[in-house]
Amino acid sequence: MDRDLLDINGLSKSFQKNSVIISHAGVDQSFSVYQHALVSYFSRNSLVWKINNKPFPHRLTFPLKFVSYEDKLCFGPQISPTEITKIAFLHVFNINVTSADDYRANVRHNVSDWFAKLNSKSDVQWIIVINTNRAKDRKTKNSIVEKIKSDFAKYPNRLFDLPDTSDQAAFVTVVQGIQQFLFQHLTLVMEIWDKSLKNQYERKKQHTWEPFAYFSSMTEYARLYWSFGAIEYAMSIFDDLEKLLHEFVLRSGEPESPKWLAQLLNTKIDDRPTLISGGFSVQRISKSEAHYLGMRNYLLCQQIIMSIHLYQQKMKSNDAAPSLRSDCAVGIMQRALITIEAVKEFNNLMNNKRDIPLTCCWTWWTVSESLSICQLLCDVSHLNVAPVILSRLHLARFDALFVLAKQLKLNPEDSETLGKWLLSIKPISLESKVLSSAIKSNEQMCTEMEKVHDVCVGSLNHANRHRFVWNITYKLFNYLRSSNSKCPLQKLSINRQMLKTLPIQASTAQMLKSLCSELLESDSTTDEMLTLIFFIVQCENGKDEKIVENLMEKMRKRAEIDGKLVDLQSISLAEIDLFNVQIDNFEAVQTTDSILEIRALIDSKIGFSLENAKIELIFSGATTSSIAQQANLSVLSLQHEKKENICRLVSEFKLKSQQSAQPIDENGPLSLKIALNAQNLAPGNNQLEFRTDISKIGCFVLEKCTISTESFKFATCDVLARRPPALYCISTPHSVTVINDSQHFYAGVMQNLEIEVEARCDIPRETLLTVEPSSPNFQFLNESFVWANNLQITLQPFDSMEKRRLHVKVWLKIDSTICESAAVQKRSILVKWMDRRYNLSLQFVPVMVINSKTSMLTTDILLEVELNRAAGPNITTVIESASLTTDPLHADSKFSESLTATPLSQFPIEGDLLSIANLIWKLPTKGSLVKHRLHLDYTVKQQDPPLKYTFDDIVELTVPDVQFEICTQVLSQQPGAQLCRATSPCHFVISIRFLKEMSCSLLVVLDADDRMWTLVERTKMVTIKDSGLGQLALTIIPVVAGYLPFPNVSIYECQLVSEAVIPGNDILFFNRSAGKQIRVLSPNNSDNNNFGKQDVVRGSNRIKKTIEKLFD
């Protein structure tokens, strides 16, 4: 049968039913009318057959066939079960006469002869049909019937009268009679056959037993039921036979196993077993197919045709199931699969290596042919129940081709023999051509194997048999590599779903490395590639260093390309955690600046060592990111109040309203990160110790642990801890104070500053304390006895509440601001310790007060600097040197360089307590607001170690051009008195000299302290003569006795406004008597006797002499 012409009807017709033979004798012409009616009736109507008074479970139909009587159609003494089907079920003699006499003369002897022959046989069913339609009247008909009945008086139930063709009741009687006798014969036949089969089966343990004979008898037995319409019953017989054959094979290893099994091996497979190419047309299995493969192939053929018959039978009924077509297709595939696997098992158990190539070829085309038949019914790929069966069929086909290829590789001489065998059977099928070409050429074999592999993989994936996909792909690649063929790497659909099906074991890694050797050597860094390599590493537990190195390299490349680390969890397939992190109990309450220690145990399950790894414990202070929150373990959360520095448990319901959508910054105040860098993690348990300084305040819960290298990272929130891993960081600042600040310090000399440092908690490490100026001009003496701008002190570890005193030598440099007066001024220094800043305020008094004033001479201007020593410790300062220079930036354009003033004092100058030292310079230049830099170098006497101090500051001086010179004197107005007395009038004589020898008018104004002087005259005008001299006297009265300073003198230009004289511009002058004092005696009540005109003349003369003396 050609495949192209294959259809369901053609397959159905390939089965030829066994006919129910009914022999007929007598007048045939008259009975032929009834033959057609009987055939139609018994083929269409299903009849109930009773065995032992029980109905047979299936209704039967009888395919009747009428033949002429022959002796061989009767039972004989040596009848065999297989020959029973050739015997007539019923013998009919038809009598058709016109009268009783005609019967006696022409027919009676024939009937007697027929009956005599039947009677000589045993168990023969017969009937006599009396056809009286030729009789002319009823009387004649009755006489004929009466005559025949009298001849067969012993068998009244076997005589049937058919008076006329229109008599329906008579015909029904005949039909019922025939049915009865048919069932009687069927019962007898089946009893004999069952008994024979039973006897045959009981002899199966004998070595002389013929399995083929039993198989043939059983198949004919089933076909008989099949012919009678009991298709399901026949199917069950075939299935039982199938199981029986399989059981024989399974028990072939038992000690009592009979030897007849060897006959199955000894029978050669000469004929090519097939389904389509002539297989279905075979009615009975031939002796040449008496091998296991032939018998199983025959069974499969019959089962397939029977399935189609059953399908057609049910389709005609009214209660056909909607899935009838698909059920039939699935049934065919199942039977094909069972047959193929049974043949394979037979070859395995019987060690039948000779027939393996032939069996493989048979498997190849049996799968193709059975699937082709199923396609006639429906598309099996869409069936829900079919994927598994379909995948197994394709797997069997692949295995068959694979085994065939291996067998031919081992025994190349079998190729020619097998090729001839394939082509010897006509017609040549498509499968034969393909196999022939594959056998001849190795390349063609590889090509066909790839095709079969692709189909098989598709079906296996559809059936979710991914492990089988790995297996056959592994086999294919091994074969291709052994054949020096190129492996189709694109067929390796490696993905997470496929890899997940593989067990984590060393053999899996070995298989994958062999299968994907080219891929592993490629430069691909896709997720699938990383997943594959990491899976291999996990299967081997990191034992293959080369593959581990490959994995690390690819992850580095991937990290470089993506710009971020590879997430190890994303490429891991194992459901176990790659790292198990467990932390021991730690001190939950920590203070700022303390050191937190956490011991952790990390169990590495990745199988290889990690070098230069970074491990981080990330604590989160956000209320929504705690582990308890994420795991839904508690309805309470921890919250920290910063102001009150307390922690409290808060309901989650309350927190929901406070949740913020802002992401948590890991470096912000709501996060605490503890890291260990450059760690080596070995496979298994690793003990780690985390240490960090607490620098944040808040309540933190351990959120996750991250492990990262330069190429990948891993994060887990599943951290084991016996107690909730919560950390409460509170603030307890340490104390830094100055303990000797009850008295003020002296600026300008070294002072010993005692700083007390108190640690409020344990500080188990060395810390650095830095002292630096908060106000300018501070200098600190370091260990090298050199003044520095700041001081760094290394402190040893502290115990809790431990105090320690530090001695810091500090020098506050004096400047014009602090030396302006002896008042106490505040300065501060900054102490930095433990990331905190302490601003220490100190009180300073300058060691010397510096005042300056300028004195104007005729041609020079003098600067007098007065250094006053304030009260304090007995410190003797020694002015080693002093210099006064002009600032070049502020000099006149005429002088581009700084000018140095000429010192008039001799150095060194010592300054004791409460002493005054005067430094005098001759200023080098004149001008208004000229900046001068005053620099003093001084030391402290008897100070150990001897230190040098400096004063350096800008002094802004106004050096005007003075044109007048005055000299003042206080004279008593009493005659003859040399001294002034309190409350007595005195002359305040002012002599003025104009340096340019010009005449002018000036206005002189006096000013004095009212407690010392009473000014009788305050203002007076004086005229300078052409000689440049002028003189005037003003009356003043001393108020108190003692040394009184002279009144202050101011001179202004005279401006005439109408008739009044008002002061004009202020005139600068040099006062030679500046700073002088006059002794005033206490009041005296004696009268002056010489007061009068002579006294006035004498006084005037005395004044002139005095002026002359002054200007000498």
Binding site: K344, L349, D399, R467, N471, P503, S507, M511, I576
Partner: protein
């Protein structure tokens, strides 16, 4: 000769808890293990509709045959036999083997120091394997 090739126990997550291969078949270890994990496909397929723990014969090829057993907690046991062996174990005998090993498995996980999911090493399993291989010989 029964031809017992090996016995394997797999956890639900495809991790292997116990494996033992008859020393007589040591040279074919890779083939046996690949055959075994192919059988896991059949176990996954049958376990969803199995009415009892014993899953029957799973898979056979030219060399090996496998039988499966699944516990209530999803632990799979696979017995691998030599397909070319003349003798054959009856269905009931295989059931007894699995039942016995199920008891050994329960004894093993009852050890308080055994961590669930890790490879098993216990005297019960070793003794069971020795008995199984002695039957094979």
């Amino acid at each position: 000769m029964l031809g017992v090739v090996g016995f394997f126990i797999y956890a639900k997550e495809n991790s292997r808890l116990f494996d033992s291969v008859n020393p007589r078949y040591a040279q074919q270890l890779l083939e046996i293990e690949m055959f075994t994990f192919c059988s896991l496909d059949i176990v996954d397929e049958k376990s969803t509709k199995a009415s009892e723990m014993f899953l029957g014969q799973l898979y056979n090829d030219q060399k090996w045959r496998s039988f499966g057993y699944i516990t209530n907690t999803g632990v799979r046991m696979i017995l691998v036999l030599d397909a070319t062996s003349a003798a054959s174990l009856k269905d009931q005998e295989i059931r007894l083997i699995f039942k016995r090993f199920h008891g050994h498995y329960c004894n093993t996980i009852s050890n308080p120091f055994y961590e669930i999911g890790t490879p098993m090493q216990s005297k019960w399993l070793d003794e069971g394997i020795n008995d199984l291989y002695s039957i094979s010989e």
